[in-house]
């Protein structure tokens, strides 16, 4: 039963991924990406990693998709169709990707994987203890570094997206230019009058 569910999920994910990188409507492309991410969450559920699947659903399907849709709606006209790369470029890229995929698959199928048969259920408490463990093999240092990274990214995103909107030097220059022209014109007019 799980076998068929996995095959259906894999088919949905591959078709959605191809549609996502080749669709000419940008919003549809984002929605196809959403299908890919939900399929990945389904694979985590099938592999018995419930916590990771929940993270995948909340962070990706809940957060990142909303962020990308927000930026698409802010930046892009919905009716506009995306540009397509040149046909020769697409064909060359597809060929290179297929060659790389062939290399990957030959490596994977020639390597003897020693699969274990023991099924261990990882609980959320185990992951929490591993993240906060200070012993050998614990992950307390990367955990703290990630928290600092997220703080820095939050501040940086606000600063970058806000931008610099106040420029004090520019308004001073145009009036000077504007003042000079009328004076010269008046002088010319005066000279013309004098000569007349």
């Amino acid at each position: 039963m799980e076998k068929y569910i996995f095959y259906v999920l894999a088919l949905i994910m591959i078709i959605s991924a191809i549609a996502s990188v080749s669709s000419r409507k940008m919003l549809r492309s984002v929605v196809y990406l959403l299908f890919v991410l939900i399929g990945i969450a389904g694979i985590y559920f099938m592999a018995d990693y419930n916590f990771l699947a929940a993270i995948q659903l909340t962070v990706y399907a809940g957060g990142i998709i909303v962020l990308i849709i927000f930026s698409v709606l802010l930046v892009h006209h919905i009716d506009m169709e995306l540009e397509v790369a040149k046909k020769s470029k697409r064909i060359i890229t597809a060929l290179a990707s297929l060659i790389g995929l062939g290399v990957f698959l030959t490596t994977i199928y020639s390597h003897p994987f020693v699969e274990t048969t023991t099924a261990v259920t990882t609980t959320t408490a185990d992951i929490g203890f591993a993240l906060l463990s200070t012993e050998a093999g614990g992950f307390i240092l990367p955990f703290e570094v990630i928290s600092i990274l997220l703080l820095a990214v939050m501040i940086g995103a606000i600063v970058i997206a806000k931008g610099e909107d106040d420029t004090e030097e520019e308004p001073k220059e145009p009036p000077i230019v504007k003042q000079e022209e009328p004076v010269e014109k008046k002088k010319e007019l005066l000279e013309n009058e004098v000569t007349v």
Partner: protein
């Protein structure tokens, strides 16, 4: 582990997803579309970490924890990329790659 599914089938699936992402990253000419392709690439690599942990070393947790870290870094990267794209759109009114040719300095 998933009953009836060997590790090579899942690795095949993630390899296909990875190269679909690379194909999209090279052929797309729009910054947001390239961001979408990067998301596909990152997600396929996270599946690799998690599945190898599950199938080969089920009593360890390294793969899961690295998966969580990759997801956190990917979220940070997306937030920064969206901020940069919005700032770029305010300056040149376009998000096409070929029109972003000048840096600040």
């Amino acid at each position: 582990m998933i009953p009836g599914i060997s590790i090579t089938e899942i690795l095949t699936l993630t390899s296909i997803l990875f190269f679909i992402g690379i194909y999209g990253f090279i052929t797309r000419t729009n910054l947001i579309s390239m961001l979408i392709s990067v998301e596909i690439i990152l997600n396929s690599t996270v599946i690799n970490f998690v599945i190898i942990n599950k199938y080969l070393y089920p009593e360890l947790l390294q793969g899961v924890v690295y998966g969580i870290f990759i997801i956190a870094v990917a979220a940070a990267e997306t937030a920064l990329a969206v901020a940069i794209i919005i700032n770029l759109y305010k300056q040149i009114s376009s998000v096409e790659v070929k029109e972003t040719e000048t840096l600040k300095y």
